[in-house]
Amino acid sequence: MAGMDARSGGRGSKAAVGYPAAALIVGASVAILKAIPNLTDAADALGLILAVFLVAWVWESGPGIAAALLATAALNFFFFPPLYTFTIADSRNVVALVVFLAAGLAIGRLSALARLRLRLLERERGDLLTLTALSQAFLADTNRESLLGVVSERLRRALECEQVAILLANENGALASAAASGEGEVRRDLAEIAYHQGNSAAFPSELGGTDVYLPIPLGVHRVGALAARGVRRSERMAEGCAALVGLALEREKFLKLAREAEGTKARDEMKSTLLATLAHDLKTPLAGARASAENWERRAGASGESAAVGDALERLTRLVDDLLNVVRLESGTSRPSRERVSCGAIAEAAVARFGGALDRHALVVDVASSDLEILADPAQITEAVGMGLENAGRYSPPGSEVGFTVSREGRSALFRVSDAGPGIAPPERERAFEKFTRLPRDSSPPGSGLGLYIARTLTELNGGTLTLGASASGGTSFEIRLPAEPGP
């Protein structure tokens, strides 16, 4: 990177004043010291050293050295005998002059260095203040358009330059001007190099100050280039500005993503609310019908008709539940919660909720791995497992045995419901998972044809698999596998 000093333009004029000033101040000191009677040589020397310090402080190194040399000469000429000649009578004064010159040079150097440090600190402080103000201004801008609308003018003022251009890459990686302030053309080739290769360029400008071309960083990548012409501030300051532009653009991008996510969330919440209302509105007339039918049955006594109404309402309820489940799953609002839950708790809930479907069967529960834990939505997995219990109740003969086991299988938790029904032939097994599929199983009451589809979708949402196989007794084995959590 080419070196740069934003004040280089001011240096010549300052030096031009510094050297005559050095002569003048040393001369004035001599005049004052001469005007005070009876001063010792040491006092004269200290007075002149003071003059050297002053010159070096104000005009720094060059004039400081000149002042030290002049002061040494003046000490010899005006104060060491024989006066007003450069002849040195006492050889000890030779030593004194050499010591004085060395001290003068050292003090001048130190003074100049201290002043330089101070100036750098002040400049850095100024840079920091400017960058702080700039970052605050950028933070106030929450969208890209308004950010780009004001960014170039803000940078132009911050960098005290004539012209600023911000070039950003489009989707194809080609640079295009995104914001500009001030008159004139920037060099595209240098902007391209800054963007593509990350190399900065800085060189004296025909407008005074410096021209800089810098990459605009975004994380570890680059999004474009910053060109500034006639910059009066430091190059580090310009780099800071480029980094700020990158940050502001990145922040704007994240804000946009956050706003989008917020929108999606709001839409999902609205869908969920609508579905809850739909569920309530569908179930309420069903509840009214069922309660009324049962009241009628209680008054008039049970009959074939009342039983038929009861059965029809039960099937309708099941169908409404299944359809609501499908709508919920396909609307994408069924995001599973992820809770650490024991398989024992799931087995208990599934039997409690769906065990009623097996009232006329011999249910044998074996939860060997009760403490085994999974990371899943407990209600969704309960629903999926329960579908297995319900199907076993529906498709196996009353009185037969239904086994429900929970065990560990490798790194998985396995929930298995096996029945002694007619089973499903291997080629039919996958088809059973399709929506509205009803396999020709004799004497079975018609279901909605959605149960297995819902159960598999719920299982897969939670990172598991659901398959059908053959049970030991020739019936169906319904198997859900979910990744087991490592033990505590």
Partner: protein, 226 residues
Amino acid sequence: MTRVLVVDDDPQIRRAVRDALSREGMDVETAADGEEGLRLAGGETFALVITDLSMPNLDGLELVRELRGRSAVPILVLTVRSEEREKVRLLDAGADDYVVKPFGVAELVARVRALLRRNAAGAPRNGVRFGEVAVDLDRQRVTRGGEEVHLSPTEFSLLRAFVGKPGAVWTHRQLIGAVWGGGAGVSNDTVRVHVGSLRRKLERDPNRPRFFITEPWVGYRFTGAD
């Protein structure tokens, strides 16, 4: 006569519930939304309030909160299936039980009776019987079919909580509060394990419990003596 308030925005439900409870000899008053329900409940004394969860103006959850703020009247909520979190919120807000729509009349009547029985019982008795089990709360003795059953102190606390509120649903949190003093580190699984051992000691078929019923992902219910 036992007075029951039914709050539901659906006229068919109001009529069906009124018919069912009237046949049981109860006096039923109805309201079409939460605000009307609250006004009626403020005017006279009811032995029980049955309310729908989702209603215009003031919904069931708000009604439960308002009612619970002023009286200890038993509250039964009519809900639809699948919203376990909603049920837990209702129960934690002070509802005593819920029935899922579409409910059976027999089930509804049984729940209503259980809640009314508890209310009528007044001061807790020191002896409770259910099935073949007899519990002596004072002497902390439990017998089943005449034979003494040994319960751990935690199991006995759990049993004492259950029999103190027959018919009502306990959320996991409420049970942890009542039995373990809200103890940190007590999980739902801890509750499940202790309820499981109560069932093994007191139920005839622990896999198909009659008295200590699981309410999936909500908590437990003690059905009490029938």
